[in-house]
């Protein structure tokens, strides 16, 4: 790779990664930036981008990589999408593209409006936007939780 890369990137496994790419474009507006396809037309590797972040979409390429669709819907990681705008409109678009809405948009005690959905292969995606600025004291009062920030 020519450019310097530092940071975190999720690589998400699908049984049908090409269908996943089409879904992620339609539902969330991700853009395909890199794709490699072998002689049989199978996807070998791909990357999508959203707001300057990268996500890799791949297949079940080893016995240790599986889609939740192959694991009765269980997943051990979820990806969060932070958007600048209208969470409800985003949710409507995802639903129209075939996402199953697990939690409708709702304001959270920490100042975000959030919804959660599941894609056709049962990966869970959480989408949120900041709607108000909430102090830590106010978060504690609203939630009953003790909030530690920057604790060692």
């Amino acid at each position: 790779m020519s450019e310097q890369r530092t940071g975190l990137v999720s690589a998400v496994s699908y049984r049908d990664p090409k269908a996943a790419i089409a879904f992620l474009e339609k539902a969330f507006g991700f853009e395909l930036t890199f794709l490699i396809e072998d002689a049989e037309g199978n996807l070998a590797h791909s990357q999508m981008s959203y707001a300057g972040s990268t996500i890799m979409i791949g297949n079940e390429w080893s016995e240790n990589h599986a889609s939740p669709a192959s694991l009765a819907g269980k997943t051990t990681q979820t990806v969060h999408i932070y958007i600048p705008g209208d969470v409800d409109a985003h949710c409507a678009r995802a639903k129209a593209a075939g996402a199953e809405i697990l939690m409708e948009p709702a304001n959270q005690f920490y100042g975000s409006r959030t919804y959660r959905c599941r894609d056709p292969e049962l990966h869970i995606w959480t989408v949120s936007a900041d709607v108000e600025t909430v102090s830590f004291a106010e978060m504690e009062a609203r939630s009953g939780l003790k909030i530690a920030v920057g604790a060692e």
Partner: protein, 164 residues
């Protein structure tokens, strides 16, 4: 045609500007890669001329990379892509799409047909298929970054002229 590489990038300039930068200014933004040389005498200077993409070699010879198969300014460009070592039945093709988006242009390069070049062929440097395509794709990323730089400077120049 299968066995393909796809690379896409957003460039902050209109599709016509990016198309013109791709075709007219290819000598300015092209970045040769010694792993994927067209000929043993490469690199030379790239140019679109007489309906072909060519490399003008330091020896004075002109190597035809491929003929232009579609030329739709601001929308789509398709050309053949051969290395000197390819046999007649080996052929790859590059399709470049220029799509207007909010901030400018989304440029997508699809380079396909690598299945016509067998794995043992010298062009592949002994790389397994996926690794070869990955490396070649990374080169296309470098190339598109060069194109973006060129299109941006044209765009800035045009903006400067408008302000004057």
């Amino acid at each position: 045609m299968s066995s393909k590489i796809l690379v896409a990038l957003r460039i902050a300039a209109p599709p016509e500007t990016v198309f013109d930068a791709f075709t007219d200014d290819i000598a300015l933004w092209w970045r040769p890669n010694s792993l994927f040389s067209f000929t043993p005498r490469s690199p030379g200077v790239m140019a679109f001329e007489d309906g072909r993409l060519v490399e003008r070699l330091p020896t004075g010879k002109v190597f035809e990379v491929g003929r232009v198969r579609a030329w739709e300014r601001g929308a789509r460009l398709v050309f053949g892509w051969r290395q000197a070592a390819f046999t007649p039945e080996m052929d790859t093709e590059v399709e470049v799409r220029f799509e207007a988006v909010e901030e400018g242009t989304r440029v997508t390069v699809e380079h396909r047909g690598w299945d016509s070049v067998p794995a043992p062929h010298v062009a592949r440097h002994g790389f397994p298929d996926h690794l070869f395509l990955q490396r070649h794709g990374e080169w296309w990323r470098t190339l598109l970054a060069g194109l973006a730089g060129r299109a941006n400077s044209i765009q800035l120049g045009t903006a400067g002229e408008r302000d004057a």
